[in-house]
């Protein structure tokens, strides 16, 4: 068994694997990950209550996996093994089931990234037609030296009416021009509300009656 577990690298091609995990063996000394027993897995009360609340909304409790993982992520900063264990214990599912979901979706973090800010730039059709590639390039450039600002392109964020747009820590802003990138980064660093005048939340609704109400 020892030779088997020994570090082996495959030097034949430099490009190798770009996906974390592909090259990882399991640790055969660990216990298999079955459903964690509530008796031995401590879960903060408020997190438990929140997950149970999500579970109560669905006929199949497993449907609550995504909101439950998001709740744990808010608590732990990322979907750490401990966070996943806690969710699994409350939901009575295996951590493996949750890991497959956490690694599939974009908005679950599988690496610790303390105190970071997420800037998702929409690059789907409406935004692209209105110049999203340039906006995205501008964000990448101004944030290239910022460790704590994480910029990535995103498929449709569902806000075509303010295209091209971006989501900054969940706050939708748009329409954007390339030069707004610097302002956004400055606002984030200063801890100010981002592009306050162009936030979707502050945009008047089109329906005049509703606006009046």
């Amino acid at each position: 068994m020892s030779a088997f577990e020994a570090e082996q690298s495959v030097p034949r091609f430099a490009h190798g694997s770009r996906v974390p995990g592909w090259d990882d063996a399991v640790d055969v000394n660990k216990d298999p990950a079955s459903i964690p027993d509530p008796a031995t897995t401590a879960v903060p009360d408020d997190l438990r209550a929140e997950i149970e609340e999500h579970m109560s909304r669905y006929p199949d409790r497993r449907s609550a996996a995504i909101p439950a993982l998001r709740a744990a992520q808010r608590r732990h900063g990322w979907c750490s093994p401990q966070a996943i264990d806690q969710v699994a214990s409350v939901m009575r599912v295996t951590p493996g089931y949750l890991a497959s979901i956490a690694t599939f979706y974009d908005m679950t973090e599988n690496e610790p990234r303390p105190d970071h800010h997420d800037v998702f730039v929409c690059t789907n059709i409406s935004c692209s037609l209105l110049g999203a590639p340039d906006v995205f390039a501008a964000f990448q450039e101004v944030a290239s030296d910022e460790d704590r600002i994480h910029v990535r392109s995103f498929e449709c964020l569902g806000a075509c009416d303010i295209a091209p747009m971006a989501s900054v820590d969940g706050v939708y802003v748009g329409p954007l021009e390339p030069r707004d990138a610097q302002t956004v980064v400055d606002d984030i660093k200063a801890g100010r509300p981002v592009l306050e005048d162009r936030q979707l939340a502050r945009r008047p609704v089109a329906d005049e009656e509703a606006r009046g109400a």
């Binding site: 190798g16 640790d27 008796a39 031995t40």
Partner: protein, 820 residues
């Protein structure tokens, strides 16, 4: 749900009219017309098709696009083409795509030569690729568990293994991580995929991505032969195929028999073949000289055994267990009864019900089959844990719930692994099965549930709910129950209560009935062969004798002088370990057939005959549902091992009983003649899938009249804990000598553990992992604490490993748990 009716329809495949079952998938329907459609991801055993690999594209007239034959159901009048240019090009393109990143390392791949991807590339691939970029390369092989290696370069993402883990084993440990081209098969946080049925993914993998670490690089397909037989490591008696190279078993594969195992194996069945070639195996006859067992000649061993038995004539007891065949059981009965004038023999671990009641329980009309479990309206799992006692049945029960809407109800002392699938789970105090049945009987008959439920320590409302569910689910109810229910001093009463419940639910019908899980692998066969006190072959009347517990007491008290052990070691497997230790120590002679010297034999056996392994054996065994199955030798016997039927006949001859046995088949013939309901069976009939005797005409020989519900005695109340804990014991799947001596499985060997409820653990100041001393009346065992939130307060469940049977007995007990 009852089995669906199958209607045959006619469709046209490649210009030929083919009759096929309606709504079967085209891939299967085409086989009725001898047309093969290539597949990777399709595996009907895994449930509904997923259409992931696109290999099975065919043209269906009236549908413009090509269709996946694995997920297109057969309809009347369909016209299908599998050989057109369009289909050929599509299939070639799929193969080309699958091979883009698949390495061409077939010459060093374990799957090479028996690989569906190879076969399909040859049969349906283009032979060339337009892809000139370098392929992806990863570190390989990697460990997925101590038993399975994973090679991610070779994986074609067909999802078979992941679907298996989620939909068959339902352990949800093996998952697909990441997404799209980044997807890979893995587990949570680098934990190993270790589960009782994990090994099946090796056989499911259509490429060389998942391989057995025990088999890797041991042989190529052209080096090996396959030999079909039966696994006799547990009562499930799965049909298996040994992979043999140079007279050594190198691998065990499933031999699909839908009436027995559905094509799955547990990891014990898949890897414990290593015990056949283990260094620890006994391969020479041995005799105790000067306190230690020493190898001797067969003549000497046989002479000593026969002399010791003859000296103790009239005072010999015998036990049989594990993988002893029907023939061996039959010969043991004759040796004891005819040659040695003894009636003290048993194949059960504790006293069972009387002969009459036991006959009523095994009446053919009341027997359920394994597929009945899947198609029943409701299944009651009663006082047993299928995962440990008869593992493959666990998968069948899950399948019934998942695919056929079967309603599962569980009534056990220890929390069951089937609880999450159950509509109702009822807990009763350990050993209170009789009281629970009395409560259920009352609930079904409209009587007083509360007092019996109180005696059982069960919730009366839950018992009523369970009874209501059994009544209302439908006509076909199967009760899966464990031998322990009717073991012990009150076995008779428990059996009567069970018969009452059967009568009230009207289980004497096809598709319903009882399925008993015996405590040893061939428990049913040994009983039918007459290894019982007071019952001869075929449950015939015989002079009464002592049961296992009685034999122990009589040996310890000096009333019996010798003990014959056919493939069993009571010190290890029977309750009351200390009594058995004393009994064996006191016995003048202990003659054993054994392949491993377990503790009782090591210390006390006076003569040891090397036992055959299941790969070397010939004979028959009887499945818990009455299916008589045939063992066939796959390899030669090592060293000085002789056929055990021959050893028994030789001992009998020396003790004065001549049984003419020129061959093993002659022993089978004698057995079939002696057991009335086996009459007319022949080894040829048993050749492939075995024969279920309760379905034959000869079964009328055991028919019992329908049971009329009787007035039940008031069951004794389960002891009240009062600060102590009720002791429940169970034997984990891994508690077997074969697991301990198989290098691949050793890491799973059962450890002494005690499961406590969180409340009791808190009260005693114990946490998971704490070392404790579990004791009763001065007898104690060391164990490690496992805190489980589903254990009912007031009970402690001890894993029967490492001498834990010192604490178990036929009766309910209270124990103290203290930090060690």
């Amino acid at each position: 749900m009852p089995r669906p009716e199958v209607r045959m329809v006619t469709l046209t495949i490649d210009g030929r009219e083919v009759e096929a079952p309606e709504n079967s998938m085209l891939v299967d329907g085409a086989k009725h017309g001898d047309v093969e459609i290539p597949v990777f991801c399709y595996e009907p055993k895994l449930g509904p098709p997923v259409g992931a690999c696109r290999m099975c594209l065919v043209e269906v007239e009236g549908i413009p696009k090509l269709q996946t034959a694995c997920s297109t159901p057969v309809k009347d009048g369909m016209v299908v083409h599998t050989q057109t240019e369009r289909v050929r090009k599509a299939q070639e393109a799929v193969v080309e795509f699958l091979l883009i990143n698949h390495p061409l390392d077939c010459p060093v791949c374990d799957k090479g030569g028996e690989c569906p991807l190879q076969d399909i590339s040859y049969g349906w691939g283009g032979g060339t690729s337009r892809f000139i970029e370098p392929k992806r390369h990863f570190r390989k092989p990697l460990a997925l568990s101590p038993l399975v290696a994973i090679d991610r370069e070779r994986c074609i993402l067909c999802y078979r293994c992941v679907r298996y883990s989620q939909e068959i084993a339902e352990d949800y440990q093996l998952v697909l991580l990441e997404r799209g081209a980044h997807s890979y098969v893995g587990t949570f946080d680098s934990t190993p995929y270790v589960a009782p049925f994990a090994g099946n993914i090796i056989e499911l993998c259509p490429v060389g991505a998942l391989t057995s670490r025990a088999y890797r690089f041991r042989a190529r397909p052209w080096d090996i032969e396959a030999a079909g037989s039966i696994c006799t490591l547990c009562p499930a008696q799965c049909n298996i195929s040994f992979t043999v190279r140079d007279d050594r078993v190198l691998r065990v594969m499933a031999r699909d028999n839908p009436d027995v195992d559905d094509g799955w194996l547990c990891d014990k069945g898949r890897f414990a073949y290593q015990a056949v070639h283990a260094d620890e195996r006994v391969v020479e006859p041995m005799v105790r000289e000067g306190g230690t067992l020493r190898p001797v000649s067969w003549e000497r061993a046989l002479d000593e055994a026969a002399a010791a038995l003859s000296r103790a004539r009239g005072r010999v007891g015998a036990l049989a267990g594990d993988g002893a065949t029907n023939e061996e059981g039959y010969l043991l009965g004759r040796l004891l009864r005819e040659a040695l004038d003894c009636n003290d023999l048993d194949s059960r671990v504790a006293r069972g019900p009387s002969r009459e009641t036991a006959r009523a329980l095994s009446a053919p009309a009341l027997g359920a089959t394994v597929p009945d479990v899947e198609f029943a309206h409701a299944v009651l799992v009663l006082d047993c844990e299928p995962m440990d006692d008869m593992p493959i049945l666990d998968l069948r029960i899950r399948k019934g719930v998942r695919r056929h809407g079967m309603r599962l109800v569980v009534a056990t002392s220890r929390p069951s692994s089937l609880d999450p699938n159950a509509a109702v789970s009822v807990r009763f105090a350990p050993g209170a099965g009789e009281a629970f049945l009395a409560a259920l009987d009352a609930a079904l008959a409209g009587g007083d549930v509360d007092s019996a439920a109180g005696a059982a320590g069960a919730d009366p409302a839950a018992v009523r709910e369970l009874a209501r569910l059994l009544r209302e689910a439908g006509d076909d109810v199967v009760v899966v129950w464990g031998e322990r229910l009717t073991g012990g001093p009150r076995g008779e009463q428990a059996a009567r209560a069970l018969l009452n419940v059967c009568a009230r639910l009207n289980l004497r019908r096809d598709g319903a009935g009882l399925l008993e899980i015996p405590s040893s692998a061939n428990g049913r066969g040994l009983r039918e062969a007459g290894v019982l006190p007071g019952a001869g072959p075929g449950w015939s009347e015989a002079a009464d004798g002592r049961d296992a517990a009685g034999i122990a007491r009589a040996l310890a008290g000096g009333e019996l002088g010798a003990l014959y052990l056919l493939r069993t070691d009571p010190v290890r497997t029977h309750p009351d370990r200390t009594v058995w230790s004393a009994a064996l120590a006191r016995a003048n002679a202990v003659i054993a057939h054994a392949s491993v010297l377990t503790e009782g034999l090591l210390e006390h056996a006076t003569v040891v005959f090397p036992a055959e392994s299941y790969a070397e054996k010939e004979g028959t065994v009887t499945h818990p549902d009455g299916r008589v199955q045939r063992l066939r030798p796959a390899i030669g016997r090592p060293g000085g091992v002789r056929a055990e039927w021959q050893v028994l006949a030789d001992v009998a001859r020396r003790a004065g009983l001549e049984i003419a046995l020129p061959t093993g088949a002659a022993a089978t013939k004698l057995l079939f003649e002696a057991v009335p309901f086996y009459a007319g069976l022949s080894l040829v009939d048993l050749a492939a899938d075995g024969v279920r005797w309760p379905e034959r005409d000869a079964a009328s020989a055991l028919d019992a009249p329908a049971w009329e519900p009787v007035e039940l005695e008031r069951p004794p109340a389960a002891p009240s804990p009062n600060g102590a804990l009720r002791l429940g014991t169970f034997r984990p799947i891994w508690a077997a000598p074969e697991v301990e001596v198989s290098p691949a499985l050793r890491f799973l060997s059962a450890r002494a553990r005690v499961e406590l409820s969180p409340g009791d653990a808190r009260r005693l100041g114990l946490a998971s992992g704490a070392r404790v001393h579990v004791s009763h009346d001065g007898t104690g065992v060391a164990a490690e604490v496992v805190v489980r939130s589903d254990v009912p307060a007031g009970s402690a469940f001890l894993h029967e490993a490492q001498g834990a049977n010192a604490l178990s007995s036929g009766e309910p007990r209270l124990v103290e748990v203290r930090p060690a």
